[in-house]
Subunit: 334 residues, 2 copies
């Protein structure tokens, strides 16, 4: 592997000049030519580590998500990765398997890798840690969920309106008893989605039966059990909305196992994966989060922060969701 020294020797110029050339400084046209030639001939590549040692930059961004098997997160990551790589940043991706302890471990791991910035979905990482990062001028972007009491840039979906609109679609179809399957109570997204559910009931003056709001974890099994429970209540709902992809899968499995006829016996609205809507029968109604937009917004915001532009910090981007009502939703037949 040749170094900047070799290039200097080959061209007869000094190391400093070569460095200048590499970093886009002013060099005589004449020298520019021979440097270029030398670099090609010697197959010189800049040593990122030596560079990083001087500049104190790794050109590496950490991405921390709950699961790499969750298409919602990986779609977002895919966009981020692409954008950042165009800006010259590598992305070290860690998945913490939905485990808050592991989240902390991986977060420290990333920090020890001297990342220049981080984009993360937090389940409850130690806020001190994030604060420490911010103090070190390492930009942090939160994805999907905000952290209470922490000043931090954040990009997420407009969860409240997402569930508001979905439940509204059910209410305007005369449903009165609408079930909602939520994530863990303490999570930000679950709370927001439940607020949308409540608000739309209030706005339309429909009574809420708390028994129809069930919290579980954001897993396939959770969704399965929650839907079964709702169905087995003496006074069962005529419609259900499910508030993430995994639980949607579980709910559909339960519907299949319980032989529930959709939408005659139960209307249902799922979450996140638009493909799913065409795979099951009848076509599933879906609330879709704008993953591409979330990813792009987060990536751009991070790059802005990396350039030192802390304009309007802390910024929160709350992006609009889309709702697709298909045949899995029908008018309530009293």
């Amino acid at each position: 592997m040749s170094t900047i020294k070799d290039v200097a020797k080959y061209t007869g110029l000094s190391i400093a000049t070569i460095s200048k050339y590499i970093n886009g400084g002013n060099v005589l046209e004449e020298n520019r030519v021979i440097i270029k030639e030398a670099i090609e001939k010697l197959d010189y590549r800049r040593n990122e580590m030596a560079r990083g040692l001087k500049t104190n930059k790794t050109m590496t961004i950490g991405i921390l998500i709950p699961s790499l098997e969750n298409i919602f997160f990986t779609s977002i990551v895919s966009i981020i990765e692409d954008h950042l790589s165009k800006e010259g940043y590598g992305t070290i991706i860690c998945d913490f398997r939905e485990d808050a302890d592991l989240e902390q471990v991986k977060l420290e791991f990333l920090v020890n890798k001297n990342i220049d910035g981080i984009i993360m979905v937090s389940y409850g990482a130690d806020q001190k840690y994030i604060k420490a990062l911010q103090d070190k001028q390492v930009p942090v972007i939160l994805l999907d969920r905000m952290l209470r009491g922490l000043e931090c840039d954040c990009v997420l979906a407009d969860n409240l309106n997402a569930s508001y609109q979905a439940v509204e679609a059910l209410i305007t179809r005369q449903h009165k008893r609408i079930g909602i399957i939520l994530g863990p109570e303490e999570t930000y997204t679950a709370e927001e989605r439940s607020r949308g559910y409540i608000r739309v009931h209030e706005d339309y003056d429909v009574r809420i039966d708390n028994a129809l709001m069930v919290s579980t974890d954001y897993t396939v099994e959770g969704g399965y059990k929650a839907l079964s429970d709702l169905w087995n209540k003496p006074d069962r709902p005529s419609a259900v909305m499910v508030t993430n992809y995994e639980m949607t899968i579980g709910a559909i499995m339960a519907i299949n196992d319980l032989n529930i006829r959709v939408p005659d016996e139960l209307s249902i609205i799922g979450f996140d994966n638009i493909q799913m809507s065409k795979v099951v029968r009848p076509p599933l109604s879906i609330v879709e989060q704008p993953m591409k937009e979330i990813g792009m917004t987060a990536a751009k915001l991070l790059v802005k922060r990396l350039k030192g532009d802390y304009d309007s910090f802390p910024a929160t981007y709350r992006l609009k969701t889309n709702i697709y009502i298909k045949e899995s939703v029908a008018k309530f037949q009293g």
Copy 2:
């Protein structure tokens, strides 16, 4: 940020001794204690870049996959990431969006990041590039598909037997006209899967109608179109196997749109995502690749190579698939 120098100063020992301690060398118990104290007190963290500059290691592994939105790949990556992070390696993940040109770009990107090793799914990267990596003692592990004419470690599923077994399950149920939806002809996996299809026909002495073997790209749209085409043939098959996840989704969509009754009119076997089998009705038969095992095997092999153990190079691990026959497959009713 404190450095090794600060620790040396604090303890009154030399830099060399601290370094020794950090890297697990022999240090007097007495000193061990005060160094530990100093490190904690000063919140010293090793600067990976300075270290990398000396050792010429980045402790970073590149992972290059066709798509981050493909659960097959991300499941594997998830395992790899977890294992490698335990070994202290960060993983820079790149997705090339199924685009061979972009593959090359991202590969160069990773190489320029001075990765210590790479695990990749190649669509057709320049083999010279891979060879160059190997020459530089950077271990390369190929995933999912081998590259013709390249000596390289490789971990993949036993594709031939996967399709052999699936088609066998159909043949033993009296199906004579069995469709298969394959990936692009030039890809290694598609070729192997088609060989399994052919061999089982030969072994059971069933005539092959070439019209029933359709190649498309590994996409949802491709699967949709392929199944529609098969169905619209004058002499349509009584059973179809689909050879990856995306195409399986597409095939199911087509079945829904064409109102094909499964399994009465058509038996079907899908690929890769076991969850899917319980989401659709009737439950879908599935060939499942052992993703966890693939990931683990690849990660372990890489670590072995990184340690300089080139035992039995080039190694090929061909891992057994599992097949789950569910109600989407029925006996052929002549």
